[in-house]
Amino acid sequence: MSTTTDTDSVREDGQIESVSGPVVTATGLEARMNDVVYVGTEGLMGEVIEIEGDITTIQVYEETSGVAPGEPVENTGAPLSVDLGPGLLDTIYDGVQRPLDELEELMGSAFLDRGVDAPGIDLDRTWEFTPTVEEGDAVEPGDVLGTVPETESIEHKVLVPPRSEGGEVVAANSGSFDVEETVVELDSGEEISMRQEWPVRRQRPAEEKRTPREPLVSGQRIQDGLFPLAKGGTAAIPGPFGSGKTVTQQQLAKWADADIVVYIGCGERGNEMTEVIEDFPDLEDPKTGKPLMARTCLIANTSNMPVAARESCIYTGITIAEYYRDMGYDVALMADSTSRWAEAMREISSRLEEMPGEEGYPAYLAARLAEFYERAGKFETINGDEGSISAIGAVSPPGGDFSEPVTQNTLRIVKTFWALDSDLAERRHFPAINWNESYSLYRSQLDDWFVENVDEDWPEVRQWAIDTLDEEDELQEIVQLVGRDALPADQQLTLEVARYLREAFLQQNALHDVDTFCPPEKAFRILEGIQTFNDEAFEALDAGVPIDEITDIDAVNRLNRIGTTPDDEADEFVSEIEDDVAAELQELY
């Protein structure tokens, strides 16, 4: 969290007038909307959210027990901003960008004390800066000035700040610097250091938003295969509790082929965040073999941490994502969960006694959600490079009811919908994404990529799988009434094929070393294998073979083991099954 700059403008201190939970009012404070203030003798961080006459209303990011009227309120004169610069990755922050490891050290305790502040990026650490500009070069905002090896997998690019006027480089220093030292000087007298600040509630500028045409490959079969997300797309994962929402998010964070992952744990469980914190450093990036943390920034604001900081953590996260997007990286941003964020808005809104909208949520809920998702996308950055932010928001609908305002307002914006289903979860069908309810509006614009990079039959085979599953869904209704054996043989066979689609393709074991990540090529081969069985079996059926004998053949059971077969053996394994299936079936007639 940054607190230092822009203090020249307005700075007039006030006094606390009233305290009610996280909402504090003050008098005599000359502040602008969204200015950061320090409240009380302990200096608790807060933000101005309403100004009415002489009364300024502040949401406080820390516990307010014991804070009393009459205590001072100090204005910093600056809006809530994040520190940007090398050192963001491989770090874990709270909702207002205070590094949690630093806080532990400063507080000397495992419990989060109040009134302790820490800079978002380490001011003492030095970085090796290599300029990419020379004296005399003309630079504009967004241009790359030099690079810093931030982590073993990510090269950090130092850019001319978006609000700079640009100019001619008069000095570019190579060597070791801390983040506040000047690395490049312009003829306008502007000194540029590696550390920059940006107010979290304002979108960072970009040249243009483009149509995304590449998928964000996640290695999750149902997602890549049936409901793909584009790089620069938006997706929602709504699900009742216990349906595997968080595991699905974490799988994406681990395996999605983004350069940078920003993971926001917004109002979620402490133990869950700990799992992420403990797991990620040990995980290898499947592409580079380097630690996953080296490309990850975690923001953890658990459910028992102050509610106002929960409201801000989403903004902190997306601003960091935009910063890396400006360097030309593909960023995947996970927000778990946006419902908690909406609830934080509701809580603050009700403390302000605002007129509530639907179900007590503030009337601006839809606008805030739209604003957030609109900050995602495939962009041409202001220096002409390309970068993207894919935003994946989890939604936790109360009682699993998708008709509630947060889910509905989210669905109006996002283009991919992975509907988690507690029935499936109960059956231990994981990932518990319901294939009948989910959708992706990116399918057609991503088909070209799949045809070119995986297989030219991709769209057809996928459509076949979807049709078969649809048919199964209809047949299941009849089965519920009359039993399976009452169906004609061809429909029974369809059910059998659909079962393999569910068990061998849709189900995927996140805890299995091999199955946890399935490259699209392998996913495609699994589908092909099942389709081969389908084709051969129907031929056998036409030739008069009884359905029981067809479904009884040995080879077909092995389809369920493809997922756990190592990737490099999978192709051969499927071919073997295909051959055996054909041979066994043809023997029957």
Partner: protein, 470 residues
């Protein structure tokens, strides 16, 4: 300390008083009624000139002449190891006739959030001796696993069984951890005197009281006091766990009464209500309780929570179970149907879940086949349960032999695996063996979720043959 006789309004559990000095938010207040009775309260809202106070012991007897004293501190719980074996009221005062408590320390009951960075991920098995929990929804140290029940169900018996039997099995714990002892903290909110007696008798009869601290807020105690009872209990738990190295199991019952109290206060303050009249901040409020479970890196002890709540009209989408489920790491569901069938404990494993189970079981923790067996039991029971609907329509004869096997399996699963009685303590080994007995009634190639080698080792061929011979 200044005394005020400036009460301007008394409304439900709230008292408003004028003050001429700044009063801190959450500060503790003593109100003396003209008849000499002293009541305690807490500052809910502080403005210059006027404060809103919620009174714990009810506002009857308070009038404009009552005097108000502000103690200048937030609510504290006196903590000491000597609390073990004691019975306290909902505000932490002894009611067992024992000696006064000499505290080691007085701790703020609000508690601070554990830094997620300092937490240690829970992955050590707690054996409750209940198959439906140990086998299918394993509890681990540092977890918060609520019991969702409804009125008229024997959730108290289940809670007592867990409190009595909870242990860390010998082979699963490290030698040097033997020092850590189990302690049980029991926080009762709004339970009836009869229930309270039942609990106390059981605690005394089994000797469990020695390792317990009991907080009792009864149904006829003031509702507002219920909002502090769990915080008192958890503050004590944190002290015992992180200062005295105990493994603390906190049982909170009944969270529904707690939430009702929150709603009452919210209504008295004329707040804008959220769903079903519950305050909009209920999620945050509940999280501040439930999130106080956990382990901390470098500390021996742990806080494990089993909150119990009764779902109004057995509705799991009601705000109380719903918000709870989003914070806790799973839930154990008590099922009225199983209860009427006489299954003890009547746990329905299908909608039950322990999110931390996967990391707390397996080789070196419980047994290597635990994960697979549990998955397979789930799948088979779910299939049998599905078929029951069908049987009601078409009758058993219309089903295939395979389907009939699954139906039998579902019945036997309830009768032999879940059913064990409230006094039987099953070792995890025994639980898994019962599981294998049942799985062996299914054809071998139906066990598609279990590793081949494990099937080889545990599957009993005779059992299946016996059945197919019928």
């Amino acid at each position: 300390m200044k005394e005020y006789q400036t009460i301007t309004e008394v409304s439900g559990p709230l008292v408003f008083a004028e003050v001429d000095e700044p009063i801190g938010y959450d500060e503790i207040v003593e109100i003396e009624t003209p008849s000499g009775e002293t009541k305690r309260g807490q500052v809910l809202e502080s403005e210059s000139g006027v404060v809103a106070i919620q009174v714990f012991e009810g506002t009857e007897g308070i009038n404009r002449e009552a005097s108000v004293r502000f103690l200048g501190e937030t609510m504290k719980m006196p903590v000491t190891e000597d609390l073990l074996g004691r019975v306290l009221d909902g505000s932490g005062r002894p009611i067992d006739g024992g000696p006064d408590i000499v505290p080691d320390e007085r701790r703020d009951i609000v508690g601070e959030a554990i830094n997620p960075y300092s937490r240690e991920y829970p992955e050590e098995f707690i054996q409750t001796g209940v198959s439906a929990i140990d086998g299918m929804n394993t509890l681990v140290r540092g977890q918060k696993l609520p019991i969702f029940s409804s009125s008229g169900q024997p959730h108290s018996d289940l809670a007592l069984q867990i409190a009595r039997q909870a242990s860390v099995p010998e082979d699963a714990s490290d030698e040097d951890e033997e020092d850590s002892e189990f302690a049980v903290i029991f926080g009762a909110m709004g339970i009836t005197q009869e229930e309270a007696n039942e609990f106390m008798q059981d605690f005394e009869r089994t000797g469990a009281l020695e390792r317990s601290v009991v907080f009792m807020n009864l149904a006829d105690d003031p509702a507002v006091e219920r909002t502090v009872t769990p915080r008192m209990a958890l503050t004590t738990a944190e002290y015992l766990a992180f200062d005295k190295d105990y493994h603390v199991l906190v049982i909170l019952t009944d969270m529904t009464n707690y939430c009702e109290a929150l709603r009452e206060i919210g209504a008295a303050r004329e707040e804008v209500p959220g769903r079903r009249g519950y305050p909009g901040y209920m999620y945050t409020d509940l999280a501040q309780l439930y999130e106080r479970a956990g382990r901390i890196e470098g500390e021996e002890g742990s806080v494990t929570q089993i909150p119990i709540l009764t779902m109004p009209s057995d509705d799991i989408t009601h705000p109380i179970p719903d918000l709870t489920g989003y914070i806790t790491e799973g839930q154990i569901i008590v099922d009225p149907d199983l209860n009427s069938q006489g299954v003890e404990p009547p746990i329905n494993v299908l909608p039950s879940l322990s999110r931390l189970m996967d990391d707390g079981i397996g080789e070196g923790l419980t047994r290597e086949d635990h994960g697979d067996v549990s998955d397979q039991l789930y799948a088979a029971y779910a299939e049998g349960e599905d078929l029951r609907d069908l049987v009601n329509i078409v009758g058993r004869e219309a089903l295939s032999e395979r389907d009939n096997r699954f139906l039998d399996f579902a019945d036997r699963f309830e009768e032999e695996f879940v059913q064990q009685g409230f006094t039987t303590d099953r070792e995890i080994e025994e639980t898994l063996d019962v599981g294998w007995d049942l799985l062996s009634t299914l054809p071998r190639d139906e066990l598609n979720r279990i590793d081949e080698e494990l099937i080889e080792e545990h599957y009993e061929d005779e059992a299946a043959e016996e059945l197919s011979a019928d």
